[in-house]
């Protein structure tokens, strides 16, 4: 291999190293991470929301063909919500628009993410994984009040 070839390899290696440092910066300084392992405790009998204190909530969400439960979730502005997500039938997706929340709801596993809602408004949750004939209708909303 000649010197230009080696330089090209070295430069592409450096470029990838820069990208990787950006990921590490986000991970450790800004706490932007991917979902972690959470033990599976079975399907929630009653999907529900519990309030832990003034502005901290836990939402236990099930995805099923073709709706999310519970419906009509409502949180005041500034709330921090832990979403626990599982599926009662097939594989579903869970994307909260404008929040960068992107989870898979897989039967037999429990997914978890923590979201802070700073802006009031209506946030749409879209199922983004093929789950059968009604997939395109599977949407829910979260209302964040003033």
């Amino acid at each position: 291999m000649d010197k230009y070839e080696l330089r090209a390899i070295l430069m592409s290696g450096c470029l990838m190293a820069v990208f990787f440092s950006a990921l590490l910066f986000n991970l450790y300084s800004r706490k932007i991470d991917v979902p972690e392992c959470t033990p599976y405790t079975g399907i929630f009998k009653e999907p529900h929301v519990t309030q832990l204190d003034n502005n901290t909530y836990q939402a236990f969400v099930t995805a099923g063909m073709w709706a999310f439960a519970p419906t009509g979730m409502k949180f005041p502005k500034g709330s921090t919500v832990d979403f626990y997500l599982t599926s009662k039938d097939v594989v579903h997706g869970f994307l909260i628009e404008h929040k960068g929340v992107n989870l898979m709801a897989i039967p037999g596993t429990m997914n978890k993410v923590t979201v802070k809602f700073n802006e009031p408004g209506e946030y749409r949750i879209v199922c983004h994984e093929y789950c059968g004939a009604g997939h395109q209708n599977m949407m829910s909303t979260i209302n964040v009040t003033e």
């Binding site: 291999m1 070839e5 390899i9 033990p39 594989v91 997706g93 898979m104 897989i106 596993t109 059968g132």
Partner: protein, 562 residues
Amino acid sequence: MKISKSLQRVLIVGLTMPVTLFILGAYNGVMQTLYRAGVINDSAVAGINYYQGLTMHGVINAIVLTTFFAVVFGHVVMVNYCKREPNKNLYTISMVFMVVGTLMDAVTMVTGKAQALYTFYAPLQASPYFYIGTSLLIVGSWLAYFSWLLMWKEFKKENPNEKMPVAVLGTLVNFTMWFMSSIPVAFETLVILTPWSFGWTKEINVPLTRMLFWMFGHPLVYFWLLPAYIAFYTILPKVAGGKLYSGNAARLAFLLFLILSTPVGVHHQFSEAALSPSTKLWVSILTYGVSIPSFMTAFTVGASLEFAGRKRGAKGYLDWLGHLPYFQRNNYLFGYFICGLILFIFGGLSGIVNASYSLNQMVHNTGWVPGHFHMTVAGPVVLVILGMSLYILSSVSGKPIKNKSLATIIPYLWGIGVAFLSHGLMAGGLMGEPRRSNLGLSYTNPESTLFNKYWLTSTTTTMFGGMIMGSAAIIFFYVFFSTLFSKQQFEPCIELPVLEELHNEKKVNLLNDIRPWAILSFVLVLSTYIPSLQTVLKYGKSVPNKFQFDNTQNLNDSSNLK
């Protein structure tokens, strides 16, 4: 080199069968863009429902067309460089397996018994014959690989001091990787999915099936990409009128693909529980690593093209780009290669976004992802498949290509179509537009309560691109079949352009032996998949779920649900 009648027959079947099915695959692709743009607000057209069409589009274009072409092109490369034919029994049985498997898949898909998409999607149930058919297709391709290993062994015994030709190395690397990575999916389909689909087993561990699928699913994308790389390294330089810049760099790139492509499958699962963040970060690093051989290819192929341009009289820094043989009837292959390469620049870069750990959260399962892979699989891969299919069909059947002018413009038209299609999909994806969704029934239907006007522009751009691609495909089918049904005019043969290397490099033994790299690959696979398997078994549970795509009733007893 002249070829026997039986090999000729197998090669022509291997080209014609997938191209015929590709008519169905391409049709369903164009239809999807119409549904998604809200032009069609229906669940089915002409008896094919959206998700059935999506299954056909994925399975035919991404598994059937690519696997058949990899096998046919592999035969051509091996015969061309080893100057002998593969074992007749092996290549015949291999083609029979592939054809029978494909027919099983086609029947289950057309009759609507398999609407589980090409990633299988348990606990959605497809007909067991769909899983068995897919397995047969894969096992058939293994047999071709075994026949080439025998050929190469013989050739090496007779010519002990020769370097392994780049194209042979690429082909053997590709199928070694394919063989290793299709073991998990064979296990998934034959041991887990088929008995479950027949109803012999009740419970299914969904995260385990997903892990096994992606262990195969990512190497699959390299499996369809590497034949295109082989063409870029060993055919393009001659077609452009130059030489390959560096043979050893080409060899190193292929070997890096061998070690890095299988252990990175978990990067399709960043949004899932049951896999730990540390495994995901490790896989991000490995995926960044696998971008290096692609950067190397960009450099080597670019430098080879620059050399060709300068030989044609180019001066200055970028003038060589204008001195390449675009739009030349007698050099129609060049257009297929160059359009593929241009698309692949953007395909590769958007792939780095997908591989990027937390950044993946912005794009996972949105339109961005098909936007990305249409610039890889529908870019360089399909363009090389189309161009080389015409080339191989012509030389193997002894029939000159009909309508060479049409054959010359196909890639440019197709490339413009892909650019629009991918732009629309990616722009929509960044706004949260889901992939694999019949948007026309809800999100892009003004009468629906779910209507989202922001997705209209992006889906319309996509549709525009899809229609251009569809037109290019129609021209291709016309050229392909009019050539196939024309009269034979010369002696059938296998002849690839002769590869010359620009630098005379020493033979490096390590770059001419696949075995040590295969072992390293296996070690890296263990480094990813031992921890993955541990967490999947610890955090995931088997569930007694089995569903049909259009019914919310669990086919297994629902009272078992905990």
